[in-house]
Symmetry: C2
Subunit: 228 residues, 2 copies
DNA sequence: ATGTGTGAATCGGTTCACAGCC
DNA sequence: GGCTGTGAACCGATTCACACAT
């Protein structure tokens, strides 16, 4: 349904929200939580923009896709808007998660409290390494990959996190999909494809460093080295 | 110089490479390494596109920004193109890295061999927690944040990784910048701003999950719940 | 007076389609 | 005949600027 920057969707939808807007909703959510913590009753698009690190026009256009939730001359009601953004993001209930790969990264992700506390409880790590199966990482049990289907069924897991070696990523993704997972977050440095109706997003640490390296290099001395 | 999707650059440059293209170069690099491992001498844009998970027209246009390195009717020389892409990405030498924050994430990143092996040696973790200073995470020493400037000078560190709690992220980023770091990779779920001449990129795990949650929710049952 | 909501203009990026070279 | 390189057409997203509501 949604893959690395390209969106394919069923045509009839209440309001089509642009992909770029969806990617910023989490930013607004965080900003609104901050404002709510500070007991601010209302806020302008300008204020929200500052907190989210974008410009005010973008905030207004983005929010307008969710509905006309602001008041002209006044701004947005913080609590109300927070509720609307939460609802748009599907935070009305938890989304249980399974992490595949109990290596360094998988364990760090399982330990990282940010997931569970924000409505994405990690129900299990899965791995094929028998010596790891049965362990606990923090409070999260390590189960065998073969238990994936049962875990998904039992805990209604909708999101799978790929933290496997890249060689195994596609195969594990396939198993996730056939187990009924609808969304995949891929940390493996590999191209993984899924059917159209499944969402996939990629987090690629190595690529990020390479991109920074590109600009870093151009910044200092890129013009002096013209050797082919 | 480059911030979360927006690029600001000095106007006079050999060839301006679009930001979207730069973001795909790491993908091509990986694909070319695969082809080189398989002893393939040449490859078409189509083949490269398959491996990189994009389409062939995009590959050709992207590569054309680097130069006319292909041969009409034949394709691209794998080794030669690999060299050119590596050079464009600044991989002619190592880029030492400092990771700020010796918590779960920082330690996992330090342990994750992918960085060091790919030309981004982690020279140190820095933290303000005195009880952690002096430890080693794998082979990486934990130093006090106050040593940042000395570390940057001594190891010519160009890239800083923010793996601190979000409350500390901006402050640590400021210290990185004043220590002379030119590129920042931010893992903290906070908006961090840097001067124009510094690059910053963000990896936000929580946001990625929220975005998946958005599409997951729409996929199943989004149309049935129309309550305001 | 103030600040939202939104058409219109603009911009960057993608895709098309074919001329040009092997 | 096959495949690259690239203008032109297209498309999504951003920014502008102002009408409209309070």
């Amino acid at each position: 349904m949604h893959e690395g920057g390209t969106l394919r969707r069923v045509p009839d939808e209440p309001r089509r929200i642009p992909e770029a807007t969806v990617a910023r909703l989490p930013l607004y959510l965080r900003s609104l939580v901050t404002l709510a913590d500070e007991r601010e009753a209302t806020c302008s698009s300008e204020r929200l923009a500052d907190l989210a690190g974008v410009n005010a026009a973008k905030v207004r256009k983005d929010l307008s896709y969710l509905g006309s939730y602001g008041t002209r001359g006044v701004g947005y009601d913080v609590e109300f808007l927070l509720h609307q953004v939460s609802r748009a993001l599907g935070l009305t209930h938890d989304w249980p998660v399974v992490i595949a790969g109990a290596g360094n990264l998988g364990r760090a992700l399982a330990n990282y409290g940010g997931f569970t506390s924000r409505g994405f409880p990690v129900v299990a790590l899965v791995d094929t390494d028998e010596s790891k199966v049965g362990e606990k990482v923090g409070t999260t049990p390590v189960r065998h990959l073969d238990d994936l289907e049962a875990l998904v069924k039992e805990h209604h897991v909708a999101i799978g996190v790929l933290a496997t070696p890249s060689g195994a990523a596609q195969e594990v993704a396939d198993r996730m999909v056939s187990a009924g997972i609808g969304s995949v977050l891929n940390f493996a440095p590999a191209v993984v494809t899924v059917p159209d109706e499944v969402s996939i997003r990629k987090v690629d640490l190595a690529s990020e460093l390479l991109i920074l390296s590109f600009y870093q290099q151009r910044q200092a001395g890129g013009l002096t080295d013209l050797t082919g």
